[in-house]
Chain length 192, copies 2
DNA sequence: ACTACATCTTGACAAATGTCAAGATTTTTT
DNA sequence: AAAAAATCTTGACATTTGTCAAGATGTAGT
């Protein structure tokens, strides 16, 4: 299981076997059943989580019981509520497995230690954070500039893989419209 | 003018006079008239920009000529299109001064050099990036969970100062609704 | 194989929002 | 001070979207 993470890191860095050994020693392996959660709102999040296999979602549950999906995390992606982790405040969000998943957790302090100990790991993390900022900025851009139909098409373009793995109501939740509206947009588009 | 930046840094760090001297030597001072731009879409952005005085906006101009505001940057805030800077690709955005403003520009390479040379400056930048990620995540959260009225009230709570300095249609643009709808939301709220 | 549950679509209607236009008010420029 | 421009509100109407409900289809668990 660590092999997957190792391969991922190998693509982006040139770490030594010693580095890998250190990293592996700090990884907590977790196997998740479908629908199993790793974060519940109200709890403080303390890890960096890497998805080796499967698919998770981070979402907000509003007072009406409606789910608002902040992020999908498929294999080779990171997840976790950075806000809660950085502030030590209870999270607003839930994270759970949409599919049976294998994940690696690295405890906050261990992760910081790795960044300080392995310069190249630190560079890699900085790169990842930069990409994350770009992704977030891009999502804000689409949310204020695109129509619902455009948001859906954009989602398909951006995440074709995820689109084929999750039910439509989750896509609707991610782009911020109701499931019924999405259904109608799809049938409209099909007519053209 | 550098004094303002120095005071800002002094609040968040404990840098030496030598550090400040190095930083100052790399700062490009720019005075902006109202409506003057510092970034036009199509250009590549290459700086980190700190606002000493005034107020800027970063926005996207769609095909219909409509403005979609991604960010307001008042004094003591940073602005710039990080995506363009990190990728060296042309920016989608424009940045210009809403009020007469004084800003400091630090060239991308110089900024990286400062991070490598002054560890405490680097820590401070990392903190700033973390906060930025939190802000972006928060904005996505509000954009998919709140109604238009709630988005407006949230804006007032989050940015009371900016709310009193910009015209309503810019707030509408920022939260992603039309100026007319915002006007109606306000008159509705006033009745209560 | 059967049952229970989730998913997806569709209809009907209400509510929210956008668009276009006009006019009042305020601010800025000359 | 006068003219020009920007801001804000409001009306009328079309369009989009949400909500509730029903039913069809597909999927998962026992």
């Amino acid at each position: 299981m660590f092999e997957i993470f190792r391969k991922y890191l190998g693509d982006k860095t040139t770490l030594s076997n010693q580095d890998y050994a250190l990293i592996e020693s700090l990884c907590i392996i977790k196997k998740l059943r479908k629908n199993q959660y790793i974060l519940q709102s109200g709890d403080v999040w303390k890890y960096d989580a890497f998805v080796c296999r499967g698919l998770l979602k981070m979402y907000y549950l509003d007072v009406k019981g409606q789910e608002h999906i902040m992020q999908f995390a498929p294999e080779n992606y990171w997840t976790g509520d950075r806000e809660s982790m950085d502030t030590d405040l209870p999270s607003k969000y839930n994270i759970d497995a949409i599919e049976p998943s294998d994940i690696l957790l690295i405890e906050k302090n261990d992760f910081e230690m790795l960044r300080k100990t392995i310069p190249e790991f630190n560079n890699f993390v900085n790169q990842t954070i930069k990409k994350n900022v770009q992704t977030l900025q891009g999502r804000i851009h689409t949310s204020i500039t695109l129509s619902s139909e455009e948001k859906y098409n954009n989602f398909l373009k951006q995440f074709p893989d995820i689109a084929s793995r999750v039910p439509l109501h989750m896509i609707a939740s991610y782009i911020g419209i109701s499931a019924e509206t999405l259904s109608r947009i799809r049938s409209q588009s099909a007519k053209k």
